[in-house]
Each structure stands twice: as structure tokens, then as C-alpha cells.
């Protein structure tokens, strides 16, 4: 299409896609810093690796599709996908798994469907789920929060930047360290496993360094960090409140209902909110405009359904956390929700309802 067009409006445009994406990157900063603080250099290394892989994959795909690569790379959407992906994987994941996940996300989920704007599924989550299903052990082996402090307390060498790099690229641990010593389940994983073994929540919470005030130790602060970033996005009007509020609301109402039923069997709602990836998911992942609902009412339905699905999978499903699955499942429902949730048009009496 010609770059000049004659149709109105003739005013200067006030928004730009790359600005939107950069603001998302900026909003990730506080949560990322907290993650690095508690889980070490691996988080940053993963982010850099994923970004490099994603940009290269995007350029390759566009070249194969015969499109100009530069404009698409300059919209920073591949970078956002890479960062979100990197924030969901364990900090010591081998580099080639990161590469596989990113290739799946960018090449298959995004570019095979036509690139930015055309992908029905969230690429970062699809990439993560691809890894989770293919390599279930590696993708759920997290470090314990505050790994360096913990190791020092046990009189072990800390996991330095160099050590982490070596671990990611060669899989070799520093001398004197074993996987058992440094890896730990995530709080959600731990809670789920012990509940399945018939323990009560009071027993579970007693005597483990994994628990914080009410969520997972460290994870609570990660949640706060991403919450800050999410509030920044709301303030900057990069996202609207509908999806995050609906996601958190859906999860909170479902978890509260069951917690009231039996607080020893079902964890405190705050635990659900501040363990795992739900806050990152609510503000940064479910709000991906391309794969989310586009009507306001639809966004409420979409978000609430994600929240409830997360609770259902966490409580009765086969995986400890469920943000990625919930988002992907609801991505499928988006066209239908959009169709039935159109707003009432000015001058029309009822909401537009049409036969499918």
C-alpha cells in the first residue's frame, strides 16, 4: 500500500506500536529485578538468550516469507514475546531448550499464522507449554528463592554469574554442588504434591523454607514487582483494567469459595495470588491484544474464565501452575466470545446480537 493516503484524518497519529511494546518492556523491569534478586543471574541470561533467538528467528521467518524483516523487528513484538517467555522458564534451563521454545513460539505459533496481529495463540505461552510437555522435569526444576543466601548459609559456594552461565551452556555445576542441593520445587508444586499426599495445609506450611507470609517466599515479592509494572501499564493506558481485574477476580473468587469451604484442603486465596505466575499472567500475558478478546465485555468474560481455569488446573489438574494452559485454552474461545459480546451501537436499542 502507498505510504501516503488522501483520506481523512490528516492529523498526526498519537500512538505507535513500537512505543506500546517498549512500554511493556519497561513495565517488566521491577518484577525482573526481584526475580534476579531471589533466583540469581540465570533470569537475566535467559532474557538475553531468548531475545537474541527471537529476533533471529523472526528475521529468518520474514526472509523465508519474502517480507521485509526490519519493520517487523522494529516493532519489538518479538522482544516482548522473548522476555515473557524467559520470565516463565526456570533460571537454569539449558540454552538449547530456550532456543527450542523460542523457535516454536516465533516460527510456528507467530509467523506461520502470518506474523504479528494474526496469531490466534499467545506465542510466549505456546512456546512455554511446548517445553513443559516435552521436557517436564527440566521446565519445573526451579531454584529455591534467595538461592545465594541459602547456599552461603549451608557453607557452599554461591552460584556466581560465571557459574550460572556455565550451568546453562554446559550443564556443569560448580564443584561441590549437586542438583539436589540447589534445585527446589516451586511453592505451588510443593503445595500440590503434599496436599496430594494427604497433608493438611498447617502441616505443609510448618517447617519449610519455601513459605513466606502467605505465599511462596520470594514469589510474594516477585508478584509485587510485576504488580507494580502492571499498574504502570494501566496508568500509561497501554492496557485497560478489564482483563487483569477479571483474571485476578476469577481466581480470587474461585479460590476464596473453596478456601471458605475447607481452609485445610484449599490454600488461602492470597497464596494463589502471590505464588506462581498469575500476576505476570494477568497484567502481561492475558492482555496480549492479538490473542485476547477485543470487546470490553468479552475481555471480562475472557479474563474471568482464565482466572477460574487457573484455579481448576492448580487444584485438580495435572500441572502445578496453569497460567499458560488457561491462556491458551481461552485463546481458542476468543472469536466466539467476541462475537457474542459486541457493544450496543449508538442509536440502537439492544446490543447487536447476530446469528453465528
Amino acid at each position: 500500500m502507498a505510504t501516503t493516503f488522501i483520506s481523512s484524518p490528516h492529523s498526526a497519529r498519537v500512538n505507535q506500536v513500537d512505543q506500546v511494546m517498549l512500554q511493556v518492556c519497561l513495565a517488566l523491569v521491577p518484577g525482573t529485578l526481584v526475580l534476579v534478586w531471589f533466583f540469581g543471574w540465570g533470569v537475566l541470561i535467559n532474557m538475553v538468550l531468548a531475545t537474541v533467538f527471537a529476533v533471529l528467528a523472526e528475521a529468518l521467518a520474514l526472509k523465508l516469507r519474502g517480507r521485509a524483516a526490519l519493520p517487523a523487528i522494529k516493532d519489538y513484538s518479538a522482544v516482548v514475546t522473548a522476555l515473557l517467555f524467559a520470565l516463565t522458564i526456570p533460571p537454569t534451563l539449558p540454552w538449547w531448550m530456550t532456543l527450542l521454545g523460542i523457535l516454536f513460539a516465533i516460527l510456528i505459533v507467530k509467523q506461520l499464522y502470518g506474523g504479528i496481529g494474526y496469531n490466534p495463540f499467545n506465542p510466549a505461552m505456546a512456546g512455554y507449554v511446548f517445553l513443559l510437555i516435552s521436557y517436564p522435569v527440566a521446565t519445573t526444576s526451579w531454584l529455591p528463592p534467595d538461592v545465594s543466601v541459602l547456599l552461603e548459609a549451608r557453607d557452599l559456594t554461591t552460584l556466581s554469574l560465571f557459574d550460572t552461565e556455565r550451568l546453562i551452556f554446559t550443564g556443569a555445576l560448580p564443584e561441590g554442588l549437586t542438583w539436589d542441593a540447589i534445585s527446589a520445587a516451586t511453592p505451588l508444586d510443593e503445595m500440590r504434591t503434599l496436599l496430594d499426599q494427604g497433608q493438611r495445609i498447617d502441616e505443609i506450611r510448618a517447617g519449610s523454607p519455601l513459605w513466606g507470609l502467605f505465599g511462596g517466599r520470594g514469589w510474594e515479592w516477585v508478584g509485587v514487582g510485576f504488580l507494580l509494572g502492571g499498574l504502570y501499564l494501566l496508568w500509561q493506558r497501554v492496557i485497560s483494567w478489564h482483563i487483569p481485574v477479571a483474571v485476578l477476580g476469577g481466581l480470587l473468587s474461585a479460590s476464596t469459595a473453596f478456601w471458605l469451604l475447607d481452609p485445610q484442603l484449599y490454600p488461602f486465596p492470597g497464596f494463589h495470588l502471590f505464588s506462581g505466575g498469575i500476576i505476570l499472567g494477568a497484567f502481561f500475558i492475558a492482555t496480549d491484544p492479538v490473542s485476547a478478546c477485543t470487546t470490553r465485555r468479552g475481555q471480562l468474560i475472557y479474563g474471568a474464565a482464565i482466572g477460574v481455569t487457573v484455579f481448576v488446573i492448580r487444584t485438580w489438574g495435572g500441572y502445578p501452575d496453569a497460567v499458560a494452559f488457561a491462556v491458551l485454552l481461552m485463546n481458542i474461545a476468543v472469536p466466539m466470545i467476541d462475537h457474542y459480546s459486541q457493544p450496543r451501537v449508538f442509536g440502537q436499542r439492544r446490543r447487536a446480537r447476530k446469528k453465528a
Partner: protein, 545 residues
Amino acid sequence: MSGLRSLLGGGQRKLWRFHGGVHLPDEKTLSNQTPVADAPQPRQLVLPLQQHIGAPARCRVAVGDQVLKGQLIAEPQGYISAPIHASSSGTVVAIESRPIPHPSGLDSVCVVIETDGEDRWGELPPPLAASAAEIDACDVAEVSERIRASGIVGMGGASFPSSVKLNPGQDQPIDTLVINGAECEPYITCDDLLMRERAADILDGVRIMLHLIQAKQALIGIEDNKPEAADALRRALEATELGGRIEGVAIPTLYPSGGEKQLIRILTGREVPSHGIPAQIGVVCQNVGTAAAVADAVLRGQPLIERLVTVTGRGVVEPRNYRVPIGTPAAALIAASGGYSGDLAKLIAGGPMMGFRLETDAVPITKATNCLLALTPAESPDPGAPLPCIRCGRCAEVCPANLLPQQLYWHARAKELDKVQDYNLFDCIDCGCCAHVCPSHIPLVQYYRFAKTESWAREQEKRAADHARERHAAREARLERQERERKAKLRKKKEAVAAGSAAPKAGQADKQAVIEAARRRAAEKKAMVAETQQHDRETAMAGQE
């Protein structure tokens, strides 16, 4: 409608909101700091025969004719049409196609008048009333006819014949006249200046229109970025005894609050039905410029031959407003404003949000031209190649019609014309808010205009096809009936022959019956022929006895 008036907020009128809208830099001070100037008398006037919505006017002058200022040069054709008057005295030198300000960029037939510089008035019809206060004594039909004969059309840009709008019919009682002084488009200030300088005339026009539609109140909506205009109207209103019936209302500055449907919503809380007109909800909406023109026509006998035009934008040296004879070339106004400042991106007729680009400034000012906007590249930067839609929904957030522009775009792009109509394409008012905020810089309005035009074309084709199909079906039915009748006739004949051969031994009476049957057959045959001919749209006279 007492519920409309809120007693809270210091007696302030309750206002309503419409969905969406955008705040824009208003750029009004570029052109509203100096009073209105008279445009220089042009050497040539170019008067298009189509300056209004409806049928073009029919030319009543010939090349070589002398015309006087205010003289009728083209008369309306049909109900929705408007006459054209000479805006100065001179000689008709050509009646030919010329470039006109129209989004299509196509030429149209114009009457070209070489002015004689004397600006002599022709004979004008007498005023219908000495002042607006006496208008109630005038016959409504007479006033309406005067407005029609004066060629008054909507001055806000739509240029719909005003007499038609002011005659909603008996079955649609009107209670509120909404006067549009919102002027929500950036840059344009001609209504602002008109309200400042001719507030009393506007009120006269409002009073006349109230008499015409028998409404009990008039609300003049003015965006609150025009305090001088609102003050001027308030002072003029205080000088009359109309305070209880006419009210000036300051409304928040938010584009597009000057859209007819939006302004009615803001002031009355009522929504013009989708695909409907304001009269259906008891409202008629007119522009302040139209009100002043009505006063000129009814109280002074002057037809619509001049209007205020804003010449603005940083692309001209001295932006300001002019009182312009209709038909003045745009180039003459640009020249009066000191010419282009050198850095011109585009010249636009109308505002930056809804105006259209002019390929040349050799077009005349028409009744609908409220603004000539010369934008520099800094004011109207090239938005660059559009990126794919990311469905962020900002367009839906600002859409004043509460549509889903992202879905409309998706289907318009795929040329799915049924789908775009499912998404209420025809409720789109082309305001441009969606394209203004789109982070992918997609020319959304262009897609919607394309889809609308395609839909209209398809609708027309469909109608033509339906008509052809109906005609074909009717013809088939006729041929089939004729065939049936022919067979029935044949059968009767056979029966009659059989009856005749079966009665040879019968006497005189039987013979008589046979003759009778033959006669009847002959009569039937004649009637049949007559009927057939009738169906063939030929005269049936030959078949009668």
C-alpha cells in the same frame, strides 16, 4: 421534559456523555485572533450547480447574460434541492465543467461569472417581518418557502437543504431545536467568529426556526474552548426577551461533540436511532451559520451568497477568517492570506479530522466550504506504511458510535461486505477518531469508505437484478397462462364438435343449440384475443363488439 433540567450544579443544565471521543490540540488561536475580513472581490466567480445534497440545480442563465448580485441563476429540481444565486454582478462567460471542492476530485458543471466590480444588487424580495419579534405573525409556509428560495443549506459542512429539515411533517412533533455552535474540528474558527460578531442575527434566525417547527425550546451548544463566542451569545440573549426559550450551553471540548448525533445526545440525552433522523426523537439540528443565513433571508430578503471561511494552518502566512462571496476561487483567499508559507504538505477543504484533500486551489468556495486548511509536513506528518492490526482496541475505546473499528477493518480488508454490515458499518460517521489513535497507523476511515461505497454499489446491483428477475418471472407467468388458455379453448372446441356429431337426428332446437355454441365460441375467442392484447400492453379496443 422537566427531567432534563438539573437543579444541581448552580442551575447548570444537565449534560450527557457520548461514548469515546478524543482530545485534540485545538489550534483555534491561529485564526481567531483577528476579526473577520471581507475577502477581495474576485474577478471571476465559479458557481457549481451542485452545492448541496440532493438534485443539482437547473441553470436559468445563458452565456452572455448580465446578472446582478442576488439574482437567481439556477433553480431547484425536485424537493431535495436548492437554488443558486449570483454572489456579485457581472456577465456569465461560461457554463462548463470546472474543478470543484469534492472528495472525488471530479469536475462538475459551474456557471462562471466575470464580475464587473460594481457589486450591484438585483431586486430582492421584501422582508417577511420587520424584526424577528414579529415573526410569529408570519405564515409558516411563506417563511419556509422563503428559506427554500434563498438557497439556504446546512452551513456546517453537510449542506443539506435547510427548508427540508425545517419541515419534518405533522407526524413528527419537534420539541427541541438544537443549534450547533460546537465547532469541534481543530483549526476551524468561522462559527466562533460568527457567534462573536453576529450573535444577534443568529438569535433572530433561531427564533424564526423555532416558529417554523413550533418547538418550545432551542439549545445552542458551544464547546467551552470558545468563551468569547459564548459570552457574545449570552449578551445578545440578555438583550431579548427569549431567555426562557433559547439557551446557550457550554459543553466540554471533546471531538466529535459537534457531530449532529453527538451534540443532540450531549444536550438532550436522546440518541438518534440508527439509520434514523433527529426528527424521530423530536429534535431538529441546525448550524449557527444556517441560523444567520435564515435571518438574512427572512428579515432582509438576501439569498445565501456569502459565508465565513477560515483560511488557516501553518502553511499560509496570515491565517484568518473571511466573509467570502460564494464562488470565490480558493486561490484568491490563500493569496489574501499572504500566500503559502512555503512548506505545504496538503491543502484541505474542511478540518483535519474530516476534511478532504484538494488537488488544486483552483476550486471555488461553495456553500459547504467552511475552511481552507494548509498543513505543513510538521502538522500533518506522513504516518508511514501501516503495520498489521494488533487488535489493541484503542479504536473501539474512542469510537463515538460505539462500534468495533478493529472488526470492521478486518472484514473490510477481506471485502466481506455482509460482515461489515453485521458490525454496523453504516453507523460509522467517518469522524476519524479510530485512525487518529491507531498505533499501527492504519488508514481505517479509508477502509470504511471503501466498504460503504462497495456496499452501496452492490445494493444497487442487487436491486437491478431483483427487478430483472421479477420482470422475467412475470413474463414466464404470462406465457404459461396464455398457453393454458389456448389449451382450454382447444378442449372446449373438441367437446363441442363431439356434441355436434352426437346429435345428427335432433331437430330444429338442436340445430339452434349448435349455432348458439358456435356464436359463444366466437365471442370467447374475441374476448381471449382482447385479453392477450391487453397483457401485451396493446389497445384492447379491437376485441370489443
